[in-house]
């Protein structure tokens, strides 16, 4: 069945969903793509962000997005600390490949178990005025539950992109995995730069977590479901490209939405990952990779 309204609704839903996907993947683009750190615990940090948004929402009625913004510096410090530990334990000894991976697996399980111990295993949700509302024009609707996270995601992307492209430290983060020596010759400490970059990466998880809990209910292990998705977006983007991550997220979101609407939702993940495979077949470096 095809109607113009259905097409527009599918496109809108896809764009909004894609923005959310991109927001969740942004941190991984920085850590995995730019810093060469395979942080598989990133979705767990996102879930931690969701639970903090839940806590502030249920205790004080704080808006989840506001909570996410407030907690960005806290997550930044957690990220910077986690990187220091990772560096001292593995990277400094050139031992990061397998043991570093195990380290982040461990971090993921620690976060998950800690959340279970504190909050239990029940599903958690938040309340906000924009959840459950929608703007309508004729047969076309825009759910505010998806639109607000999309706008926040765009703002977050813009901020990170501007920082990475307009500041010395931002450009240093982009350079550190490529040529540490050249960076040192420029007077920058590669370890501190990576610490800064990893802090930013984890900082984005605070806000991405808030967006997640606006869209779906969460429980401590829900992050595992999205590991494949966020890595796929980071790879499709071209490992390290911030605009690429946004575009890749949008492509996956729109593809899933169109397929779900016109061909059936069971095909949506297969088509989305098919796009990833096809894109990598023609551009192994990803859409925006060099």
């Amino acid at each position: 069945m095809f109607t113009v309204d259905l097409l527009f609704n599918a496109l809108i839903a896809g764009v909004l969903l894609g923005g959310f996907y991109a927001a969740v993947s942004l941190g991984l683009t920085v850590s995995f793509g730019q810093l060469n750190i395979v942080n598989i615990a990133h979705p767990a940090f996102v879930i931690l962000g969701s639970y903090i948004a839940y806590m502030c929402n249920s205790l004080w009625g704080l808006d989840p997005i506001l909570t996410g913004i407030i907690f960005i510096p806290v997550f930044f410090l957690i990220g910077a600390g986690a990187y220091r530990l990772y560096y001292e334990s593995f990277e400094r000894k050139d031992d990061e490949a397998l043991r570093g991976l195990a380290f982040f697996f461990g971090v993921m399980f620690i976060i998950e178990v800690a959340l279970i111990m504190v909050y239990g295993v029940d599903f958690r949700t938040v309340q906000a005025s924009y959840i459950g509302q929608s703007w309508k024009a004729g047969g076309i609707g825009v759910p505010t539950r998806m639109f607000v996270p999309f706008c926040v995601a765009i703002a977050m992307f813009s901020a990170v992109y501007l920082y990475m492209s307009r500041t010395f430290n931002g450009r240093a983060i982009k350079a550190v995995a490529q040529d540490r020596l050249a960076l040192q010759l420029m007077g920058a400490d590669p370890v501190k730069i990576k610490q800064l970059g990893f802090g930013i990466s984890i900082g984005t998880a605070a806000l991405a977590g808030a967006l997640l809990i606006i869209i779906i209910p969460v429980e401590p292990s829900v992050g595992r479901l999205y590991i494949g998705q966020v890595f796929a977006i980071a790879v499709l983007a071209g490992l390290g490209s911030i605009p690429g991550t946004l575009v890749a997220g949008l492509i996956l979101g729109i593809a899933e939405s169109l397929v779900s609407t016109f061909f059936g939702p069971s095909w949506a993940p297969a088509v989305a990952f098919g796009i990833l495979l096809a894109a990598l077949a023609f551009r192994p470096q990803g859409l925006f990779g060099r």
Partner: protein, 424 residues
């Protein structure tokens, strides 16, 4: 002199220590088998982490309440009951190993199932191989292919679980004037939801309804807006959904946002029975007709259920589980009641004798009188179809009141009338 005294004292000390150790060793040697003989061990796996942990942990608390009640009443066969359990992490691959350990290492006397279809089926081959009685907790049509005589399933799906599950949904809809003519079917691509939708599909075909949408979705789907838009474009009279908790929330939110117009909406949505999800959705639930197993309606006040719920709710405080415990918890208590009553009635731990007794008798439990059909399902279905009505806020107390989840089906337990249609 000093030295002699010291030697004497050392000898006395050595003798005392040796005697004490001999007594202690004897006590340990005698104590271990004595303790093993003094308890009836019941083993099981349970989803304490992972996607089904919310329900699994609640079930465990209910089972612990049963063990406390049973031990306070003298235990089983004059022995205290001990529950031995392991977290299956909601992962079916963990289940065979857990049951093998329970039986071969922990030497349990009985096993019961964990929670949910996907986690019951992997235990079946082990249980069948050893001829064990196997009370099971909320498996949908697990025994369809195994045909194991000692399988006893406590969820009141009925003797034909595939179709009995959604029978009430159709009964309520087809009683309207004019009856609906078209239906959309949608469900998660996972064991329970596929079975629920399969049963709904069979009945739709039998009733001559035109199926205008019939799709499954991946369980990690985050946004259901495209699915609801696609359903709305086909304008069905009925929408049957087979979903798990996060999907159920997504589906209800999307239906509200899109403004889904249909006459009856719901059916097999897991999660809408959970306190955390009911309070999250609040008034968005109004009008939805969905399955349930126990609700605080005056027609369902079985003996002992309120006393059980009071104990459960106290035990659940601060545990991060469902604070009300209406959905699964009474049944988690009841399937152990069935096992316990059968053990005491036969005065035996012989699985063949107990299995025979359960097949041929009925049991008074906190979920009412239970008897089993030859396939191990309830002899008569009691899947309730309830409608959410008059919900005006998101407060937990709202859902403890009669009248917010009105029983529409079966007629025997009916507590109110349907508000029809869902939205026009």
């Amino acid at each position: 002199m000093f030295m002699k005294s010291s030697e004497k004292s050392g000898l006395r000390g050595w003798l005392k220590r040796s005697l004490a150790m001999a007594i202690l060793a004897g006590a340990v040697a005698l104590g271990a088998p004595a303790q093993a003989n003094d308890t009836i061990k019941i083993g099981f796996s349970m989803a304490l982490t992972g996607g089904l942990a919310g329900a699994g942990k609640g079930a465990l608390i209910a089972m612990q309440v049963w063990a406390e009640d049973t031990n306070a009443a003298g235990g089983l066969l004059g022995k205290q009951v001990e529950l031995i359990y392991y977290d299956d992490q909601t992962n079916p691959a963990n289940v065979p190993g857990i049951y093998t350990k329970l039986l071969d290492i922990d030497d349990v006397d009985f096993v019961v199932s964990g929670y949910g279809t996907n986690l019951i089926a992997p235990a079946m081959p082990i249980v069948m191989q050893r001829g064990l009685v196997f009370p099971s907790l909320f498996g949908l049509a697990v025994n369809e292919k195994f045909n194991y005589p000692n399988y006893f399933q406590i969820m009141p799906a009925g003797p034909e679980p595939l179709t009995d599950w959604s029978k009430g949904f159709y009964t309520v809809a087809m009683a309207q004037d004019p009856p609906p003519k078209t239906i959309a079917l949608v469900g998660a691509d996972a064991e329970f939801a596929k079975n629920a939708v399969k049963g709904a599909r069979i009945q739709a075909e039998e009733l001559g309804l035109e199926i205008v949408y019939d799709e499954s979705y991946h369980p990690k789907t985050p946004d259901f807006t495209p699915i609801v838009n696609a359903i709305q474009a086909r304008n069905p009279d009925m929408v049957f959904v087979g979903s798990y908790p996060p999907d159920s929330v997504g589906m209800v939110k999307a239906a509200t946002e899109v403004g889904l117009k249909t006459k009856i909406f719901g059916g097999g949505m897991v999660g809408l029975q959970f306190a955390s999800i009911m309070t999250a959705l609040g008034p968005k639930l109004n009008g939805i007709v969905n399955y349930d197993f126990w609700v605080p309606e005056p027609t369902l006040k079985f003996e002992g259920v309120e006393a059980f719920l009071a104990k459960y709710q106290k035990a659940a405080e601060g545990q991060g589980v469902d604070p009300l415990g209406y959905y699964l918890q009474p049944y988690a208590y009841a399937y152990l009641q069935v096992l316990g009553q059968a053990i005491n009635a036969t005065n035996s731990a012989d699985h063949a004798v107990i299995g025979e007794y359960i097949r041929n008798n009925s049991f008074d439990t906190v979920v009412g009188n239970v008897s089993f059909a030859p396939n191990g399902e309830w002899a008569k279905t009691r899947v309730l179809m309830v409608q959410y009505q008059g919900i005006e806020d998101n407060e937990l107390a709202t859902f403890t009141k009669a009248g917010t989840r009105v029983v529409l089906y079966p007629a025997e337990w009916k507590s109110g009338d349907v508000n029809y249609p869902y939205a026009e």
